[in-house]
Subunit: 275 residues, 2 copies
């Protein structure tokens, strides 16, 4: 795909984050109309859908040949993602929808742009906190323009680990996730849960915690945050320790390879399928 | 105790919060000198101790007859608290010390003032976020001067519940806490963990979540936040559903009595002793 000017794409990404942020802020304190998807705890609102369709329309108008993968578009169609070498926008209109429904400020708009299946731009914007996390491949990660660097923690016993209960209510899945939380509480400085994958990865990038692991998330939840974390120096892998597969619904992110390895060894590795 | 002017006391409480906040902010981004207390995850820094001794000195100078209960003073002495009808300042210099050590912004100074064993003033200040939560008995709760009201959620299945792994690494205690987290993940919209009891209670007061339950905390962690939550309309109880005992190292806070009852019924009630 010649003719792609990544600075122009990056400018559009920031414009989309600003627009999405405005829509999320406008709706944040209002009563929400809530539907459920895969479980009683897997929520969607009209704002998720409105943000996604607005963003998709802007992208289509500017870049008619680009591909689009979005949480609401893909989930609504019930399809697997088709991710190709073409320039592709991968969007979560609201990551942390449960937080959004409950007016808890940890909600984000997440945008990853990929070329030849390489993530080249990641933007995570938390409009209620006005925190804009950005990264371009090989050019570092930033929070509101300030360069980010991960922590230097090398021992899990001194680490704060972010984990989530998640939205699945399948007994076997919850059981294994809780065993993993047990393993981390027992072996670390503590476990935190904020309810947004994109923000969790951004927190690790910003040194607010040492590791994050989650099973059952989708590519739109973590593709932008994964680039931001990597560009801040994080180790981002499949939880088993193998190379990250963006379509394999799981991620392990740690400030150092040592912490990543120690965590990987202590976890039950759930396989929750592919996007 | 005649001669107590609660408006003067409240003014002092705000002054102490501002001073503590300044000290916490100054130290927040610097390298910390960390010691452990009851477990490898029970942390204390020189800033906890410096804030407590500064605050204690100001109180002693202004109110030489008042009593003082502080985390570092009491924990260092290894004593049970002596809580009387006398005017008493109950202080946690840094609630969320693990967050402080890791430069995670959810750290607070917590101050409760009691008279005849009644909590009449509560102040929780999160200096990194610049969020000041305040309450006076029967006069409402406020965040940076704005009145707070809890959520109206009545069904646990629609609630976000805040819980913590805590700092104990006793296998039996961790095991029961994890079973409780399992019960809440399975039955609610989701579980969050922020790492500060004072802030967790303040979050419920502010409607950022519907309930919070914790076993193993101390009176200085939750006495101020409990007043703030109550004054915002929360139900604050012993987790068994009986009346709250501030010295009994456990608390259940919910936006409605219905959610409090539903949560109470689903928990294993740990008894982690008295302060």
């Amino acid at each position: 795909m010649s003719g792609i000017d990544l600075e122009v794409i990056y400018g559009t990404a920031l414009e989309l984050a600003a627009k999405a942020g405005e829509m999320i802020r406008d709706a944040f304190w209002k009563e929400k109309s809530v539907d459920t998807k895969m479980s009683a705890a897997d929520l969607v609102t009209e704002t998720d859908q409105a943000v996604e369709s607005t963003v998709k329309a802007i992208i289509s108008a500017k870049y008619p040949n680009h591909k689009f993968i979005g949480e609401e578009t893909t989930a609504a169609a019930g399809n697997h993602c088709v991710w190709t070498d073409e320039p592709t926008w991968i969007i979560d209109p609201i990551d942390g929808t449960t937080n959004f429904v409950h007016s808890i400020p940890e909600v984000t708009f997440s945008l990853g742009f990929t070329l030849n299946k390489q993530v080249v731009i990641g933007v995570v914007y938390a409009p209620i906190k006005d925190e804009l996390f950005t990264a371009k491949l090989n050019q570092g990660a930033f929070l509101n323009g300030k360069k980010l660097t991960v922590n230097k923690t090398k021992d899990i016993s001194k680490a704060v680990v972010i984990m989530e209960g998640g939205s699945s209510r399948d007994v076997d899945i919850v059981d294994k996730k809780i065993k993993n939380i047990y393993a981390m509480v027992s072996n670390s400085h503590g476990v935190r849960a904020y309810g947004s994958a994109a923000l969790n990865l951004s927190h690790i990038a910003a040194g607010r915690g040492d590791a994050y692991v989650e099973y059952g998330i989708h590519v739109w939840d973590f593709i932008a945050g994964a680039l931001i974390a990597k560009e801040a120096g994080a180790t981002v892998l499949d939880p088993t320790g193998s190379e990250l597969d963006y379509m394999h619904r799981r991620v392990l992110c740690a400030c150092t390879p040592e912490v990543a390895n120690q965590i990987s060894e202590k976890l039950i590795h759930l396989d929750m399928g592919f996007d």
